[in-house]
Symmetry: C2
Subunit: 173 residues, 2 copies
């Protein structure tokens, strides 16, 4: 692994290195907890508040009964996957001394609405997700392929979608 | 099922009903495809463009090497789940004639960073996700419980997370 510069790809690789060292010294530092709070605004309009950031707005297209003021939740899942993959390329390219000239990721996936609409029991979500990564870099093709494989093997959102996750949803008492 | 009003909960239940009728008449109308395009902006800053909406910004906290300008991708997954559940309550409460006075959903989940940091092979994502639904409604507790069960059985993002999804990620040729 070559760390060529602290500023390659505008990534603060020293901060990542410091975190790796900290976790190596104390495994509990790898235990992170993440949160969001969603508030219903009427109709299908909602917003998700995360820390002190502007909330992520959500709505549904008119054809699904919404007022189409924001991306809908399944689109937000695709956004999260793409954002996660992009961080993975940026972090690991930088750690390997690979410059990124440009990076775009197209994500798509089908949803059969029968279950959501109550017309059929079964799986209501994406049946699959596809992503195509457009990575412009002066690195060798073999190095890009190795980077790609590493990103896929370490992507938090990618693995979240690929695993059968225990999701517990309860009504407040 | 009672449809008490077209304006209950500010939900356009007629549009949902029209969609259900359309899908009942032509099952292919349930086949929906969703897309997002993510662009890397340097460092760990990215944005996800969905249709014509303002992009969803993404970054990482400073401790993870980012510049902390936006929620990170795993937080966005929690946001998407909460937004989806809220739509589910709004849609199905309205279809059942249940008024919602207020609805807030707290979502959280742990991520062990060892895999993301390259310190261990294995699962890089959430190990579980928890959601607590704060629903204020004049409806009977039994009706709320039935609504809750129905929402869980029909949630696109909930089911996406609970299933082991085939995710295909390829480098553009």
């Amino acid at each position: 692994m070559t760390i060529s510069s602290t500023t390659l790809n505008d990534v603060n690789i020293e901060a990542v290195g410091a975190l790796i060292s900290a976790v190596s010294d104390d495994a509990t530092k790898a235990d992170t907890q993440w949160r969001a709070t969603v508030t219903w605004l009427g109709g299908f309009r909602t917003e998700a508040k995360i820390r002190s950031f502007d909330p992520i707005a959500s709505d549904e297209p008119a054809g699904l009964g919404g007022t189409d003021t924001a991306p809908n939740p399944v689109e937000q899942v695709l956004a999260a996957l793409g954002n996660c993959l992009a961080v993975g390329y940026a972090a690991n390219a930088t750690a390997r001394g690979i410059a990124i000239d440009a990076l775009r990721i197209d994500i798509s996936g089908p949803v059969d609405l029968h279950t959501f609409l109550g017309l059929r029991e079964g799986h209501a979500g994406f049946s699959s997700v596809q992503a195509t990564v457009h990575l412009a870099s002066p690195a060798d093709a073999a190095d890009i392929e190795a980077l790609h494989a590493h990103v896929l093997s370490t992507s938090p959102v990618g693995h979240t979608l690929q695993a059968a996750l225990p999701v517990t949803i309860q009504l407040a008492g």
